[in-house]
Amino acid sequence: MTGWPLLLDTLPAVQRDRLFTLADERDFPADSTLFDEGGVADRFWLIRSGEVALDVYVPGRPPQVVETLGPRQQVGWSWIFPPYRWHLGARALGPVRTWEFPAAEVRELCMADTDLGYELMLRCAALIAERLQATRLRLLDLYTPRGSVPS
């Protein structure tokens, strides 16, 4: 494992540097909101330290956390596809340090440098696939007696 965020772990150094010229360091205090469900997905983050909770708004209840993300993980992929709206909300569970990337500029860079764009999109697709798979596994409710019944 390297110290790089997982998204960029295996990206060639030149492409990684190019992408990082667009990044800003941005810190969030504990309990602050990165974004709300339905808001404009105009950026994404790579977590340097701290934990972020992704949540869903359920009327009459506190936001329901569906997943947490930690160091080296990526927060947000709704910026890739129109209409660029967040599917979930995101909140800092404690102090969170990130690199923040502006979505429109990243998409433009991907169009201008299609090699970089292809590599980046492959990695984003892998991330989305991984989260889909994780969600499916959780649907099985594996830890109940029925879920873990031996064959």
């Binding site: 930690g70 798979q133 994780a134 596994l137 830890y143």
Partner: protein, 270 residues
Amino acid sequence: MTTVPLPYRVTAVAAENADCTSLEVMPVGRALPAFTPGRFAMMYAFGVGEVPISVSAIRDGHRLVHTVRAVGAVTGALCRLGAGDAVGLRGPYGIGWDLDGATGSDVLVVAGGIGLAPLRPAVRHVLAHPGHYGRLHVLIGARTPEDLLYRAELDHWRRASAQVEVAVDRPGPGWRGGVGVVTSLLDRVDVRPDRTTALVCGPEVMIRHTGRALLARGLPAHRVQVSLERNMRCGTGHCGHCQLGPLLLCRDGPVVGYDRTRSLLAIREL
């Protein structure tokens, strides 16, 4: 090794969560041979029946702890026992975690649900032998925060230098820890594939996915040890109930290298 249950007495009972109870037992007379982490006993609830239960702690002398989840008649009866009650035990059975083979390497423990029970003595063994092993990472998946086993002990492990990460499927109000599948916790660990031994126990689907995720991170399959469950009757390799392909898991397992089980676990109805 005896194939006739020896009488043991329950010396302490601890409710771990809504359906799991830890029973500490002591021999009434003759004791069974020493257990090692990952091995199991056939526990006999008098008048009800007998089930395989892993050892979840091995205390000084011949005191054993078993953590039992009440899922049916026998485990239900075991969980209803109180201090002073009698229980029958035979064993130790099976092959446990290969902790000698892990000497000198980092140890990565991945546990799902009640799967933490057979892994607990392995964690304790590693912590009790500083210098023998590299870094210790313990990744735990549970259904809800309330289902988490050995909560207080996890803090001891952290204080004793283990990295302990927990993810639950369903967080309740007030839970500030991780939410997600246990495999997502692998991203939090600095896995050194060439010097890590992984010990994995949990529901079989979780074992398959964890095995794949570990291989994707570069761990060789033979450095991944998995503990598998099948229905067991004799525990001694004679009745065939616990067969998984060419393996009889009571004799050749329950801990088996992922290199031997990976293809077997991919076959349905084996």
